[in-house]
Amino acid sequence: MEMHKAKRVAIIIEAPMERRLTEALKAADVTGFSILPVRGGSGRSGDWSSEGQVGRAGGMLQVICIIRPERLDAMLEGVFAVVERHIGVVTVSDCEVLRAERF
């Protein structure tokens, strides 16, 4: 199975920022991403849980983005502009990807 080097960027961000982040990703020419629900968590700003919540203010979600290594920097700049003042975590790790022609 031929694999290709890629970067996996995982962004945990407040739910109200979702649209801003996805637009920033698109503006940075990111070709694809997936959004995963997050059910709760804990951090310096305390504990939270999505259970029973009506509003989105208290919630967070995780955006996963597999990207070619050479495009990482452009992407991170776009992301950073959005998360800069906000709580949340941005991580990057190495991975290999099947069918890199699709990226």
């Binding site: 109200p16 801003r20 849980s49 259970e51 029973g52 919540q53 509003g55 203010a57 709580i87």
Partner: protein, 353 residues
């Protein structure tokens, strides 16, 4: 709300306005208020909230799925909006709607300034946090409003159906005031995005949309779906308040640090200040007893959905622990348990219902 009343007696004639607001017609005795409060306290609605709060405080694992909470909220918004629209359809739209909307917009825009002043007086919150909190108190809590209509219904008191539209109108302006209060102390916080998000947020669109549907389809439309949006309404509200109790109890439980004495006192005092301003506005624009009461309720209540979301986006530096706990953990239960009967008693005294 009009649509609730089975026998359909017509709205009391617009009362002559007593600008001096003397209470000669009927004085509110404390015992009356206490009676009302006591009977309010043992309603299934309040007790459901208490049960939820209790469960959260003792760390029971009782929780509502997020989807169920959201579904109930959609149901309540749709039902309350629809019934308001039907009621307006039945009575026709006169100038009162326009005036009331303007009153609502103004109240929402101005209450944050009052709240801000009070916060500066009572607390040591910095400008940013004080403004963020203030924004919540200009806006409204639709569940508090719904609980208010439910009390009116129990007592057989009519109210203007368009108060639902006023509720919708009061959601957003407070956010602008809060942002103005902040940027007066620094950089601008508003972008085009945020504008759209605030004005088109789900609860405004659903409330106004259902109101419009109710207005268009009228009693006939209501008849088709009343066994869905009228009969089970109060029961759904019970479960929803149970969930609100869980969430409020959790927020109180988890953020002991965030709530200083001064902040807590603000959360207790501000609703009554808001209600006082609301009652004046209601009398001024000559609403019926029920209408005056609901305007008090709207003014007294604090947002816990639309404004927090906007604040997270526009003022991320503000501490969500403060404004969420205050709005949901202090002011909401206070209004539910004590505020509503007090406001109604005051409205009765001043309007003479």
């Amino acid at each position: 709300m009009r649509g609730f009343i089975r026998d359909g007696e017509p709205l009391k004639e617009r009362r002559v306005l007593h600008s001096s607001m003397d209470c000669t017609k009927r004085s509110v005795t404390l015992s009356e208020i206490l009676d009302l409060a006591a009977s309010n306290l043992v309603s299934p609605l309040i007790l459901s909230f208490v049960l939820g709060a209790f469960a959260a405080l003792v760390r029971s694992d009782l929780t509502f799925p997020e989807a169920a909470a959201k579904a109930m909220s959609i149901y309540l918004l749709f039902a309350i909006g629809f019934k308001g629209g039907v009621s307006v359809a039945g009575h026709g739209v006169d100038g009162a709607l326009g005036i009331s909307l303007v009153a609502g917009l103004l109240l929402s825009a101005l209450l944050p300034f009052v709240a801000f002043g009070l916060l500066k007086l009572l607390t040591r919150l910095d400008r940013l946090n004080a403004a963020a909190v203030a924004g919540h108190y200009g806006s409204i809590s639709i569940v508090t409003f719904v609980a208010g209509t439910s009390i009116l219904e129990t007592q057989g008191i009519a109210s203007e159906g368009f108060m639902v539209a006023v509720a919708a109108a009061m959601e957003a302006p407070a956010i602008l005031s809060a942002l103005w209060l902040i940027s007066a102390g620094g950089k601008g916080r508003m972008d085009g995005h945020l504008w759209r998000e605030i004005l088109l947020n789900g609860s405004i669109v659903l409330l106004v949309g259902a109101f419009a549907i109710g207005m268009i389809t009228g009693e006939e439309g209501l008849a088709e779906i009343s066994s869905f949006i009228v009969s089970p309404f109060k029961g759904v509200l019970c479960l929803f308040l149970l969930d609100m109790g869980l969430v409020a109890g959790r927020s109180i439980r988890d953020s002991r640090g965030a709530l200083t004495a001064g902040v807590f006192v603000f959360g207790v005092v501000m609703p009554f200040v808001g209600a006082a301003i609301g009652v004046m506005a209601g009398l001024l624009i000559e609403l019926s007893l029920g209408g005056v009461f609901l305007l008090m309720v709207l003014s007294a209540s604090a947002s816990y959905i639309a404004v927090p979301a906007a604040m997270r986006v526009a003022v991320p530096e503000a501490d969500a622990g403060i404004y969420l706990t205050l709005s949901l953990g202090v002011t909401f239960p206070l209004n539910l348990a004590i505020g509503l009967p007090v406001y109604l008693a005051v409205a009765k005294a001043l309007v003479g219902g």
